[in-house]
């Protein structure tokens, strides 16, 4: 066995999976959807449609709605079709998973990572670092994000890899709230003797952060992270609408969902498939996150 360190994240994950069936269920959900995203091409080939082809024959000629009950669900179209276009919804959802999953996850990593680092630095180092961080957080929070996005949409060339742009932009704008929450926690943590002990030992701020602060920040960080995934996916949709997001016709959940809202009254399935997918992913991450929190807390079980 290697040096026993504070329960490591991978170790905690395997521990929680072995013990907590809800966390296991959450993980399975996330993994299944991730696999669906990875093998989207295979899956859609199996079903026999792609997410781009218009098919007015799948639509009801009188309304433009999917022909057939339940949004046109059939052996041919597993999730039915999109109203007005007749594009295959299953293909859209699994291909959309690629965009949304990737962006949701990567942007969350960027924003939470940045937020934790910056927030911890502000709380722990204090002084001008704290001031600069607090002020820039205020600037970011007060800044009309939307305007920036619009400007970006107009300025960034169409060839620029959109997913990367989105991850960077969404991630970068998401740090302030995490940073402030982490900072608040660190402000009290740093007064605890074990942090002081590490400092007396000559641990550098980075080492203090990694070994003393971070393990004690998992609670709020996991909460912020797991809840930020759907937010980021939704943001991607909003940005797509503004022309900054993935370029049409690339499918994404966020876009499908916001388009589908209009149709809930007549074609609820259009909303339900991507909506449930988003819910499932979010729930999966949250169930896993809660399990992880428990596993990372050695006092799990606590006093009664």
């Amino acid at each position: 066995m290697s040096t026993p360190v504070a329960r490591s994240v991978p170790a905690a994950i395997s521990a929680v999976l072995a013990r907590d069936r809800w966390a296991l269920a959450g993980t399975v959900t996330v993994v299944v959807i991730a696999l669906a995203a990875i093998f989207a091409d295979v899956l859609t080939a199996l079903e026999g449609h792609d997410p781009y082809t218009y098919d007015s024959s799948a639509l009801d000629v009188n309304t433009g709605l999917p022909a057939g009950p339940f949004g046109g669900v059939s052996g041919d179209h597993w999730f039915g079709v999109e109203p007005l276009t007749g594009r295959d919804l299953f293909a859209i959802v699994v291909h959309g998973a690629r965009t949304s999953f990737l962006i949701g996850l990567a942007a969350t990593l960027v924003s939470i990572g940045l937020g934790v680092l910056v927030g911890a630095a502000a709380g722990y180092l204090g002084g001008w670092v704290d001031r600069v961080v607090t002020w820039s957080a205020d600037v970011f929070l007060g800044f009309p994000y939307l305007v920036f996005m619009i400007a970006l949409g107009a300025v960034v060339p169409a060839e620029f890899p959109r997913v990367l742009l989105l991850v960077v932009v969404i991630g970068f704008f998401g740090w302030p709230s995490t940073a402030r929450v982490v900072r608040a926690q660190v402000l009290t943590l740093k007064e605890r003797n074990f942090v002081k002990a590490a400092r007396v030992l000559g641990a550098s701020p980075w080492q203090v952060f990694r070994t003393e602060l971070l393990p004690n920040l998992w609670g709020p960080v996991l909460v912020m992270a797991t809840l930020s995934v759907p937010g980021k996916i939704g943001l991607e949709a909003a940005l797509s609408f503004l022309g900054v997001g993935v370029l049409p016709p690339t499918p994404s959940w966020g876009r499908s969902i916001s388009a589908a809202i209009d149709w809930v009254g007549v074609d609820p399935m259009y909303l339900i498939f991507p909506g449930v997918a988003l819910f499932a992913v979010t729930w999966g991450f949250n169930a896993l996150g809660d399990g992880l929190r428990d596993a990372l807390d050695p006092r799990w079980g606590g006093n009664r």
Binding site: T63, P83, A154, L242, G243, D267
Partner: protein, 534 residues
């Protein structure tokens, strides 16, 4: 097609009651100088103009007298004289004179009151005229007596009576209207005056006691009050009106019912009967940037005529061809004098990708064309439609990237930029007055390229320019109509745009709203005639 009028068969509206208009916009501009309102919508409730529109189902729109007659020209369209009716009064009781009309037109030249329809400005030789508030008059307008007003145009212009129906030709009491918020307390000449004006929330119009229905043939003036509720979400408005409860029974929505809402309303019999869909409307088209390779090649442009899938476009716009509107092949919209129906590029509504490919090959693009950019005005809700076009073009190996831009960025790109970057753009055009002139000239005259014009295909053909000028100076409507139809054909031969459909607009109203009809032109309800039923 339904031969019956798209409109109301229900009970006849009576005088009285409060009409509510649910508007998506948070602003309502009742300043004539700043307004681009059609002659039959909101602004018309408060302000009369020199001339008015008479529109009815099944007939082209006609210019009719409003404050004045429809004008006379002694010299083939260069000088126009209008005579006001007797005994007209402003809401404050003062008489309306030709000087007030002149003042109103002059006022529209003031930089402080920009933003309105300005077709008259060039024709009146505005030049560097900056409005009456600096003490100068516009010499091209003469008011020999309080009832007569004469316009001396820079060139013969047959459609001047139509121009005289635009908002700037509403009277403003001479010497007044210097304040920026004049629209909140504008002196009215129409059936209503501003009662209360709550910015961004509500505008309540109350009766103008000095309006005489006998002297107004275009306005019904039935409701006692008209209330604009601003900033209403379109979907919510549809839902509310479909539910038809409380005050909503006396209301109608001023924005189009979205395709999704339409589909839902179709399924609700009680609401379906209250949805009014126009027979026709603005022509939606795909503009091809004729100045940029490869679209500067006529064959390539013609290929587009076959590559597009108009039926997919119809479905994407409203779910069915029925609700979306007929496929289009000409430029002049329905309901306009002189329009001729023809199709130079006959094919199936789904298009003919093979033929398109063949044309592309002929033009030297056997493998199709790539990297075309289609710009889109985000605020027009065209995403789905653009994707339909994108998918259709892909069938003919035409690869398109969609860039959607904010309204202003879009306009800057398409209307102002000297050297724009787009290859294609989706657009639709509703003429500002019911003349083919307003349909063709703004879109295809070479003077309208960049510099703020709407010639987004950047189409420039000296021959066409000459023909346009000629048609514009023709006073006789029938004769002019023929000329315009010829121009229409000529332009289509050059294929600068692909007409897609004549867009139908659908509106929904409450059960107690009567006389809610949409004539052939324009594809909007006539606010001036709507009333409350018992």
């Amino acid at each position: 097609n339904d031969p019956k009028a798209p409109g109301d068969a229900g009970a006849k509206p009576e005088k009285g009651g409060t009409l509510r208009i649910l508007s998506e916009s948070r602003t309502l501009n009742l300043d004539p100088a700043k307004s681009q309102s059609l002659a039959i919508t909101s602004l018309g409730l408060v302000h009369r103009r020199l001339t008015g529109w008479q529109n009815a189902v099944g007939r082209p729109a006609k210019v009719v007298p409003d404050l004045a007659d429809t004008g006379k020209t002694p010299d083939g369209g260069k000088t126009w004289t209008f005579v006001l009716q007797d005994g007209l009064k402003f809401s404050d009781g003062t008489p309306i004179t030709s000087a007030d009309v002149k003042w109103g037109v002059e006022r529209s030249f003031a930089p402080a009151f920009g933003g309105g329809l300005g077709y008259h400005k060039d024709l009146l030789g505005g030049g560097d005229y900056k409005g009456p508030f600096e003490g100068k008059e516009l010499d091209s307008i003469e008011t020999p007596d309080p009832k007569t007003i004469t316009f001396k145009l820079t060139r013969p212009y047959g459609d001047w009576p139509w121009i005289a129906s635009t908002p700037a030709f509403a009277p403003v009491p001479k010497g007044k209207g210097a304040e920026a918020d004049y629209h909140e307390r504008a002196v009215a000449s129409g059936p209503y005056q501003v009662g209360t004006y709550t910015k961004g929330v509500e505008v309540k119009l109350t009766r103008n006691p000095n309006w005489d229905p006998a002297k107004d043939q275009v306005r019904g003036g039935l409701p006692d009050e008209v209330v604009f509720q601003l900033g209403q979400d379109a979907s919510v408005v549809s839902q509310r009106l479909a539910a038809d409860s409380g005050d909503d029974r006396f209301a109608f929505g001023s924005s189009f019912v979205s395709p999704a809402q339409l589909a839902q309303l179709q399924a609700t019999p009680s609401a379906k009967s209250r949805v009014v869909t126009s027979k026709s409307g603005a022509v939606a088209y795909l503009a091809l940037n004729t100045q940029k390779a490869p679209l500067n090649n006529l064959k390539v442009r013609q290929a587009f005529q076959y590559a597009v899938d108009k039926s997919a476009y119809q479905i994407a716009s409203a779910g069915t061809a029925q609700l979306a509107g007929d496929t289009a092949s000409t430029l002049i919209t329905q309901g306009i004098e002189g329009r001729e129906q023809f199709d130079l590029y006959q094919t199936k509504p789904e298009g003919d990708p093979e033929k398109a490919k063949a044309l592309l090959a002929e033009a030297g693009f056997p493998n199709g064309v790539e990297n075309l950019t289609l710009v889109l005005n985000k605020s027009n809700n065209q995403a789905e439609k653009a994707e339909a076009v994108q998918a259709a073009l892909a069938r003919a190996n035409i690869k398109v990237t969609i860039r959607s831009l904010e309204a202003d960025a879009y306009e800057t790109e398409t209307n102002l930029s000297e050297n724009p970057n787009y290859d294609l753009t989706l657009s639709s055009w509703q003429p500002d007055f019911p003349s083919a002139n307003a349909n063709i000239q703004p879109l295809f005259a070479s003077s309208e390229i960049g510099k703020g014009g709407y010639n987004t295909s950047r189409y420039s053909n000296p021959e066409v320019d000459r023909l346009i000028e000629e048609a514009q100076s023709t006073v006789d409507a029938a004769e002019a109509g023929k000329k315009w139809a010829a121009i229409d054909r000529k332009i289509m031969q050059d294929s600068p745009v692909v007409p897609l459909i004549y867009t139908r607009n659908s509106f929904i109203h409450g059960s107690k709203v009567g006389n809610f009809f949409i004539a052939d032109f324009p594809a909007y309800p006539n606010y001036l005639q709507v009333g409350i039923t018992k």
